[in-house]
């Protein structure tokens, strides 16, 4: 895949991924800003309010009608956390012109609509429409509360809040309920102005069009973006695990308990940690799957995720409360096995094959590409999938052991039913 990245305006970057095999083109526009308790809720509210209407398409019905006319183009407001940064904006996908006739110019129309969504909202007396702000505030509060509905997600969220309580990373990407409630139209509009002027804008295109055509369309659509002093990307906060892991237990009316465990990775050897995590719990051939699930039948899922931008590994499992202790100690036993280099040759070969395959097939999904490169761009790294594959191939068993050795348990969170003790 041809990758081209350039600064097309001050602190506005365009990543261009040339790929002709898709039926669609994708454009992403993301404002990257430091994650902070003071602004997280307002930043998260903005894409939803902006998506309610632009000057040209002032309500949802007219906006959707325009998307329908563009052969069902799709726009999603997005709010994501990458490292200690919050990324808010829109991702748009539209059918490639080749399938609907060149005359349609869906790329230009898409870019222009995206620019309008971000820069030209419908306003009344220099503010957003009150009904849009109030409606989306209620929706955001509902969304924050709805995190409780999915117990697995809830346990993972609570773990991060507790484990990274003093780091920006511990802040919910949507902010908290009280902050949302305290926002009003005036404050939100001020935040909007500020966010536009002081954020880095990461644009990404993936599809069949030439870089020059894409750059021209986006430059035109974002020409009126105000540019103020843009602070550098926030450095990732790295902490070490406490001497004694913290334990948090909470109850809810659930049938199945949820166990989440957070680990800090001391090592910076990213490729070695990727493989260590795959051996540990990152695939259906991992030690967690084979032992905690298959051998002991303790759970349906027990898996681990390595957040490399932050240097954290989290383990997540659904277990009956009476088995939670057993599951926890088995999980730690399996980590120790990786730290001591106890794995069969096939396990490592499978881990490497899984990592290679995942990275190689990244280029087959526009959504996955967008997500991967946003993760890179928002944390100030730039490594293509191909480069990372090269670094993975060079990892030795000694490096995996050393990287795993640096992994230490920080916090355990357990959610269980009210009757269980």
């Amino acid at each position: 895949m041809q990758i081209d990245r350039r600064e097309i305006m001050p602190q506005v970057y365009l990543t261009h991924l040339r790929a002709g095999q898709f039926k669609t083109g994708l454009i992403s526009a993301q404002l990257v800003t430091p994650l902070s308790r003071d602004t997280a809720a307002a930043n998260a509210l903005l894409p939803a309010v902006l998506y309610r209407g632009t000057t040209r398409f002032p309500d949802m019905e007219q906006l959707c009608a325009q998307l329908d006319r563009m052969y069902g183009a799709e726009v999603s407001p997005t709010v994501r956390k990458r490292g200690e940064s919050q990324c808010v904006g829109f991702v748009m996908s539209f059918v490639d012109d080749a399938l609907v006739g060149r005359g349609e110019r869906l790329l230009e129309r898409g870019a222009s609509l995206l620019g309008e969504l971000l820069l030209d909202p419908v306003t009344r007396s220099g503010r957003f429409l009150n009904e849009y702000v109030d409606g989306e505030k209620a929706n955001l509060i509902d969304a924050i509360r709805a995190a409780r509905n999915d117990k697995r997600e809830w346990a993972e969220l609570r773990l991060m809040q507790e484990m990274c309580a003093s780091e920006p990373y511990g802040i919910n990407r949507w902010g908290d309920e009280d902050s949302v409630r305290s926002l009003n139209n005036r404050k939100l509009f001020e935040r909007y102005r500020d966010l536009l002027a002081t954020s880095r804008l990461e644009l990404l295109y993936c599809g069949a069009a030439e870089p020059a055509q894409v750059q021209e369309a986006l430059q035109e659509s974002f020409a009126s973006l105000p540019r103020g002093a843009v602070p550098p990307l926030c450095a990732v906060v790295r902490r070490t695990a406490p001497a004694e892991p913290r334990l948090i237990e909470e109850t809810m009316d659930v049938g199945q308990g949820k166990l989440s465990m957070g680990f800090r990775c001391g090592s910076d050897d990213v490729p070695a940690l990727i493989l260590a995590n795959l051996l540990f719990g990152g695939s259906s051939n991992s030690k967690l799957f084979m032992n905690v699930r298959e051998k002991l039948s303790l759970c349906y899922y027990a898996s681990s995720v390595y957040a490399r931008a932050k240097g954290i590994i989290t383990v997540s499992s659904g277990v009956e409360s009476r088995n939670a202790q057993r599951a926890q100690s088995e999980i730690l036993t399996q980590l120790r096995a990786v730290q001591e280099g106890q794995w069969e040759d096939w396990e490592l070969a499978a881990a490497l094959a899984a990592a290679r395959s995942a990275l190689q097939s990244l280029g087959d999904s526009q959504g996955a590409l967008e997500n991967y490169y946003l993760g890179q761009n928002a944390t100030g790294q730039f490594e293509s999938a191909e480069e990372l594959i090269g670094r993975l191939d060079a990892v030795t068993p000694e490096r995996i052991r050393a990287a795993a050795e640096s992994v230490a348990l920080d916090t355990v969170y357990f959610l269980h039913g009210k009757e269980d003790t």
């Binding site: 095999q21 949802m60 019905e61 059918v95 009316d253 049938g255 259906s284 395959s357 097939s361 999904s365």
Partner: protein
């Protein structure tokens, strides 16, 4: 071997039926690294009662799903490891009417495909391995039962189709799976995992003759006989309201309208297109009703609607989070009546048709959705890639007729999960 080109989609498909009855579809995708294979059998959670050798057999709820879990075991150990070494992570799912096994890999595709064909066609269980799986599946059931989205869905289908096996959870219950033994699993495998009851799809930059050769080499030479299944009468009366409480933040709901069963063949695809268009016209994101309900705070971005077809079961659904789901259902009914009596603007209809056509094109980016549409087509006798022609022939009147017959005149059910009082 038959090659079909679809110039309006920019796609090519090779179809072939082996002497043993297996349908093979190969969808060429040059430019992609990933290669994907899916092997499906027409056997799912609904297939609990069937005729074998002249007698009707009843099996425990959850058996198709249990069988899916156990198929990964082989005499040599576990197929997962063999595939993992070659960079493939296989997975499987069981739905109401189908069990499917699939993997993708960028390297060693044909050896991986052979492993897939082999572990799905050769069962290997022991009493111990079957007993051991009970703990895992019981935890899976526990996880699903805690999911409010699943609870509203389960109660809706039960309310609309009380006699249908579609109302029984695919995974069964902790109680029902206790009755599953190695013998019952072997018997169900023999009955339903026959090549003539299955479909193999490969998607990617692959050579169709290699795929066909692999299927011929690994799968049994005999096809098997068609199995008659009992899906119940579908005549029970609809329960208008089902409520339960759970630990959720906001009330969640799903409303449904019971529709007549759709015919097989290309008409089924046509019914699907008309149903989707009707739902979209009535309450999709760009409909006046959606805007109104959203602006009134009666629905939020979690709102979803659609049209579902299962064997003997068809329904229109709409749901999400709402503090007043009865008001949403009323509004849908009223809007349906209005649309049917006043008609719709031709521009609006054309716009929706264009949007839906674009959305169908987008589906061709996903190997999984391509494979599933090929399997659906194979099991129900239509060519899923004929959708552009269907879009050409469907008109506004078809869609309005659907709304009148399936929403205005249809019995409706509302399923709600309320938050627990503190």
């Amino acid at each position: 071997m038959e090659l079909t080109c679809y110039p309006r989609l920019g796609e090519e498909v090779v179809r072939h039926i082996l002497p043993n009855g297996l349908t093979v579809c190969v969808v060429k995708k040059p430019g992609f690294r990933q290669k994907y294979a899916l092997l499906a059998t027409r056997y799912g959670g609904m297939d609990l009662r069937f005729r074998q050798g002249g007698t009707w057999v009843d099996t425990p709820a959850g058996i198709a799903h249990y069988l899916e879990h156990k198929m990964f075991d082989t005499a040599e150990g576990n197929a997962l490891q063999e595939l993992a070494l070659r960079g493939a992570e296989p997975n499987a799912f069981t739905s109401n009417a189908m069990t499917a096994y699939y993997f993708d890999s960028t390297e060693h595709f044909i050896p991986n495909l052979k492993t897939l064909l082999s572990f799905v066609s050769v069962p290997y269980f022991t009493a111990e391995s079957v007993a051991k799986e009970q703990g895992i599946i019981a935890q899976e059931i526990g996880m699903i039962e805690d999911d409010p989205g699943w609870q509203v869905y389960k109660n809706l289908v039960r309310a609309l189709y009380p006699d249908s096996p579609a109302a029984i959870p695919v995974a069964g219950s902790v109680e029902s799976i206790r009755h599953i033994t190695a013998d019952t699993l072997y018997a169900c495998h023999r009955a339903f995992y026959t090549p003539s009851n299955m479909c193999l799809v490969a998607v990617g930059d692959v050579d169709s003759s290699d795929i066909i050769a692999a299927a011929q080499e690994i799968l049994p030479a005999e096809g098997g006989t068609p199995i008659e299944r009992d899906y119940g009468g579908g005549s029970g009366s609809v329960t208008p309201l089902t409520e339960r409480t759970m630990e959720v933040a906001q009330p969640q709901f799903l409303a449904g309208f019971r529709c007549p069963d759709a015919p097989e063949g290309l008409e089924r695809l046509r019914t699907n297109v008309i149903g989707d268009l009707a739902v979209d016209m009535l309450m999709g994101e760009s409909s006046p009703l959606y805007s109104r309900l959203y602006a009134a705070g009666l629905i939020n971005a979690s709102f979803e609607c659609g049209f579902d077809l299962l064997p003997g079961v068809a329904y229109v659904y709409a749901g999400g989070e709402s503090a007043d789901s009865a008001a949403v259902l009323d509004a849908v009914r009223q809007e349906a009546a209005r649309v049917v009596s006043e008609g719709v603007d031709e521009d609006y209809y054309q716009r929706l048709r264009r949007a839906m056509f674009g959305a169908s094109l987008k589906g061709l980016n996903s190997f999984e959705s391509i494979a599933l549409s090929m399997v659906e087509g194979c099991f129900h006798g239509f060519d899923a890639y004929r959708f552009p022609e269907i879009f050409d022939t469907v008109c506004k009147e078809d869609v309005l007729r659907f709304i009148r017959q399936n929403i205005c005149d249809a019995p409706a059910a509302l399923s709600v999960v309320q938050p627990k009082e503190e």
